[in-house]
């Protein structure tokens, strides 16, 4: 695993968590800086210039959502929220405020690492690579074609747009609202039943068993994620 010495800022008021994250992430070759409060997190971001920020929402001095909003005023640095708040509303709020992903405590290190890699990929890879490949599934953006195990999959234009959007944000969670906004426009932000229908159709075309999907997985109450296997 070459992390290329990517710089990660950990903003969490729990010392135990910071210590554990620092040890584990440094083991993977990342460069770690710590912040124990929202204020410190904001100032560290401008000093340390991290490639990813890991942010706890329950900070002693301010709400994490507010930190996300302040950061988004001037930087597009990927933010991965790491919080004990498990309610879907909290997740949606953080993601819609500009966070890139959300991991609930207690978390497995493997999951957090996967999210960090997905977040880092966003800055390393341009979003209009001509061909996106995920295991047996590949999407050729130039030709608007999708193949599964080398065979072409017939998708309707809307199904293709949904898949393309998820693929361009592969590995990261995409909220219902973000997807609806990108594909149907601002009038359909609350119409998550459209999404449900199209995701169901897509799964029937690209998943071997739609009951146990391996590409498009549901993030309950929040949105969807196209899984990358890396």
């Amino acid at each position: 695993m070459s992390a290329g010495g990517a710089r990660i800022l950990v903003v969490d008021d729990e010392k135990q968590i910071r210590r554990m994250l620092k040890a584990a992430l440094e083991g993977y070759g990342y460069d770690i800086a710590e912040a124990a409060s929202g204020q410190e997190g904001l100032s560290q971001t401008s000093i340390f210039h991290p490639d990813v920020v890991i942010l706890d929402l329950g900070l002693p001095d301010m709400d994490g959502i507010w930190v996300i909003e302040r950061l988004r005023e001037w930087t597009q640095v990927p933010i991965v929220v790491l919080s004990v708040r498990e309610h879907e509303d909290d997740k949606i709020k953080a993601l819609d405020a500009g966070a890139d992903d959300y991991v609930t405590k207690p978390f497995s290190m493997g999951e957090l690492l996967a999210r960090l890699r997905a977040a880092l990929r966003r800055i390393n890879r341009s979003e209009d690579e001509p061909v996106l490949a995920f295991g047996d599934l590949s999407i050729d953006l130039a030709h608007r074609s999708v193949t599964l195990k080398g065979e072409e999959v017939k998708l309707t234009p809307t199904e293709y747009e949904v898949l393309k959007y998820l693929a361009q944000k592969a590995g990261r969670v995409v909220t219902h609202r973000q997807l609806l906004l990108a594909i149907w426009g601002s009038n359909y932000q609350e119409q998550s039943q459209y999404l449900r229908v199209y995701i169901g159709q897509l799964r029937r075309k690209i998943e071997a068993d739609p009951s146990q999907p391996v590409y498009i997985i549901t993030e309950p109450g929040v949105g969807y994620r196209l899984v990358t296997r890396d």
């Binding site: 879907e88 207690p106 497995s108 309707t156 234009p157 809307t158 199904e159 998550s192 039943q193 459209y194 449900r196 229908v197 995701i199 169901g200 029937r204 068993d209 739609p210 009951s211 146990q212 999907p213 997985i217 549901t218 309950p220 109450g221």
Partner: protein, 512 residues
């Protein structure tokens, strides 16, 4: 229907006038008939106004009518006419007999009339009481009972009625309901009401105590050992008093209301006692749960971690790996406990909010299978979901929680390697999801209780659990308006199913 204090004394002039007029009319008729009738027959005519007065107007007018009849008959008919002299002894005798007959019949007729009037009043009172009891019996809280009582009494006596209940917090009395308009209680009246409350005796004009100038009456609403409330009654006019009938009626009404209030209070206390017992049980179970179900995984984790921290390298890489898996699995188990406890507290406190959205059960099952991978390890899982299952309105995360609990139970109470299956089907207007295991079948009597809070099957007490999982499932499904049940599996094992209503599937929009 009104019971009023208007007896014949209320309209005396009219009644007496009627007695005079009718006697006069008979005289006129009598004079006209003189050529055709004997004097003895004419005297009988005079009995008519006497009887009618007795029945219609009471004893006074009847007596007046009797005496007037004697005088008129004497004056206009008995020779010498137009004098009060009586020439014939026979005629004198007839006059005396007439007077006696008139007085006796009018007395009897009046008595009859009074009895009839009383019977009517009794009937009205019974009817009013019946109506009140019917209305009160339907009430489920004490305030409503008092409100009904107040309305009913105000309606029956057509006056102002209000009720005061003691405020336990600050020792004062609060007016909870009033009818008929107008402010009933001033400073002084509150003092009287407090006295009535303390002594449990009525007060007011004619009732012994506190005979104020305003006609205001207080009645205690008496429970078994204490006064529950005080009723203040003011008839429509300030100087009016309450008739004994009205008083009796008010007392009957308040007694009835008191009985209902005592019953409601007892029911409330019983409910509270039950709630207390349950919350005590909850606390006890929580303590047990924390001490046992949390400590067990903690013990495994601590054991594994301290082993790994040993300086000497005595463990093989496989053993170390085993320790690490133990730590991970036990930590996850603890997390599930916490989730269930939180859900239960939310269900108990009523703060569980359903986030209803259109959901596909296939989608939910997919998420659950990902999440429950380590719970199900070892058990082959069969999934049977036809592609045309309609969507349901549900809270995705809570239904997911229900399915995880059902799968966890299925895995926990059946031998490893035995299959577990999940199937979804449409039954009528519902989507039914079923989890089938090959565990030891639950006995008939236990089947009825498995969804009860804290219930654990006796034969399975050795397997750790809180007895909360299924009761949470039940709470969640019922909050969705669905049903959850269990039945033996046709083969060997148990089936747990829950249903969710199909409520108007959205039509899928054509591809744009």
């Amino acid at each position: 229907m009104k019971i009023t204090s208007k007896t014949f004394f209320d309209r005396p002039l009219k009644n007496y006038g009627w007695a005079i007029l009718s006697t006069f009319a008979v005289t006129v008729v009598g004079r006209a008939l003189t050529p055709y009738l004997d004097l003895v027959n004419i005297v009988l005519l005079y009995l008519l106004p006497v009887l009618v007065s007795a029945v219609r107007c009471g004893r006074g007018p009847a007596f007046l009518s009797s005496f007037l009849g004697v005088l008129a008959f004497n004056f206009f008919f008995v020779p010498p006419i137009f004098t009060f002299e009586v020439a014939n002894v026979q005629h004198l005798f007839a006059l005396i007999v007439f007077l006696l007959v008139a007085l006796v019949t009018s007395t009897i007729a009046t008595k009859l009339r009074d009895q009839m009037r009383k019977a009517t009043q009794r009937e009205q009172r019974t009817l009013a009481l019946y109506e009140l009891s019917r209305e009160i019996a339907a009430r489920t809280d004490i305030d409503q009972v008092l409100r009904t009582l107040v309305d009913k009494i105000a309606e029956t006596i057509s006056g102002t009625v209000a009720v005061l209940v003691p405020n336990r917090d600050c020792g004062t009395m609060d007016q909870v309901s009033s009818a008929g308009g107008g402010d009933l209680f001033g400073e002084k009246e509150y003092a009287v009401a407090r006295w009535v409350m303390e002594h449990g005796q009525p007060a007011g004009k004619g009732l012994g105590m506190f005979e104020g100038e305003r006609s205001l009456f207080f009645f205690p609403v008496k429970g078994e050992d204490k006064t529950l409330a005080v009723l203040g009654v003011r008839p429509r006019t300030d100087d009016a008093s309450l008739s004994p009938e009205q008083r009796q009626m008010i007392e009957t009404f308040t007694n009835l209301a008191a009985v209902v209030m005592v019953r409601l209070q007892l029911a409330k206390e019983a409910e509270r006692a039950k709630w207390l017992a349950e919350s005590e049980k909850l606390h006890r179970t929580l303590l047990n749960s924390i001490s046992h179900d949390f400590r067990t995984p903690l013990a495994s984790i601590t054991g594994a971690v301290t082993s790994l921290l040993e300086e000497r390298d005595i463990y093989t890489p496989e053993t170390r790996q085993m320790f690490l898996h133990t730590i991970r699995d036990e930590a996850r188990r603890m997390n599930r406990f916490v989730e269930n406890l939180l859900d239960m507290v939310r269900l108990e406190s009523g703060t569980l909010k359903l986030n209803m959205k259109w959901c596909d059960l296939q989608d939910i099952v997919g998420v659950v299978l990902r999440e429950a991978r380590d719970i199900l390890s070892g058990h082959p899982v069969n999934v049977d979901i036809p592609p045309d299952i309609p969507s349901v309105m549900a809270d995705f995360i809570l239904i997911e929680q229900v399915l995880v609990n059902l799968l966890e139970n299925a895995a926990k109470y059946s031998r490893p390697d035995t299959p577990i299956s999940i199937s979804v089907s449409v039954m009528g207007k519902e989507v039914v999801t079923t989890v089938t295991d090959a565990g030891h079948p639950i006995s008939g009597t236990e089947r009825e209780h498995v969804f009860d809070k804290f219930y654990r099957q006796d034969s399975l007490k050795h397997i750790s659990g809180t007895g909360l999982g299924l009761s949470i499932c039940k709470g969640i499904i019922e909050a969705h308006g669905g049903r959850i049940w269990t039945e033996p599996s046709p083969g060997y094992g148990n089936r747990f199913s829950f249903s969710l209503a199909i409520s108007g599937e959205l039509t899928e929009r054509g591809n744009s």
